[in-house]
């Protein structure tokens, strides 16, 4: 770990290679994605379409590959952002190194599982026609 910490003799750019930087940076990148995609998602469903939610309305919208892509991408970035956020809250309480590693891989596994589950939940709408 010692060689990864910044020192006055190294150019400051090397300090960017600390492990937490990707977690920090991706949290910001996913935040911007969510801001855009969630606005589209909420606007389309609750303000533009009819003021009720029915199976056929959802199925009609998900007949379009673009909308399927929006929903699946939104779920993926939300899962990353949410799980990474919970991870930072837990890390702020201070847990052991072993627990940190379990948390890291556990959340990666949980994220992928819920994404597959979410895609499975969309199936009846996508394949209804």
């Amino acid at each position: 770990m010692a060689q990864l910490t910044s020192s006055p003799t190294r150019p400051p750019g090397r300090a960017m290679l600390k492990p937490g930087v990707f977690s920090w940076l991706l949290q910001r990148v996913t935040a911007v994605f969510i801001a855009v995609l969630l606005f589209v998602h909420v606007w389309e469903i609750h303000f533009i379409s009819e003021k009720k939610v029915t199976f056929d309305l959802v199925a009609e919208r998900l007949n379009n590959p673009g909308w399927i892509a929006v929903e699946l991408l939104l779920l993926a970035v939300l899962l990353y952002h949410g799980l990474n956020g919970v991870r930072s809250i837990i890390l702020d309480f201070g847990i052991s190194h072993t627990a940190e590693r379990f948390l890291y891989w556990g959340f990666i596994l949980a994220g992928f599982s819920v994404w597959v589950l979410g895609a499975f939940f969309l199936a009846p709408f996508v394949f209804s026609k």
């Binding site: 009720k52 939610v53 199976f55």
Partner: protein, 136 residues
């Protein structure tokens, strides 16, 4: 060295000494956790599409439970959580880029004002469903 009580030692971390930024930091985390709970419920709602004869359970759920005034109230709460978390997150990102730090109070009030305006619009949209009659 004299005895120092926990209250005196960690004086900035004591809730009665929190300034605005500390409450906002806390509310950012609380709204984040609330949004995760909402997300789990939302995924479960969508899974109803898998149940029974094509779309029947889904349509029943959204015509009965979805129009329940309490659920509509929770929708307004969810919009608050999303807008607060999103607008405060925008402020955090701006400060990461070094934008607006010298005018941090103005930036805070500006993002909160935008979020509040959108939230009021959401409430105006949602209220007719809660009261069962047009707002105006």
């Amino acid at each position: 060295m004299s005895q120092v009580s926990l209250n005196e030692k960690y004086t900035d971390l004591w809730p009665t000494n929190y300034k605005v930024g500390m409450w906002v930091w806390l509310l950012h985390r609380v709204t984040g956790l609330y949004i995760i709970v909402y997300g789990i419920i939302h995924l479960w709602e969508i899974s109803i599409g898998l149940m029974g004869v094509k779309g029947e359970a889904f349509d029943w759920f959204f015509s009965v439970v979805g129009l329940n005034p309490f659920i509509q109230f929770l929708d307004i709460l969810t919009m608050f959580a999303l807008l607060f978390h999103g607008m405060n997150g925008l402020r955090v990102i701006l400060f990461d880029f070094g934008i607006g730090i010298r005018r941090q109070k103005t930036v805070f009030l500006a993002v909160m004002a935008v979020g509040f305006a959108v939230w009021v619009a959401t409430i105006i949209e949602t209220l007719p469903f809660i009261t069962g009659r047009p707002l105006f």
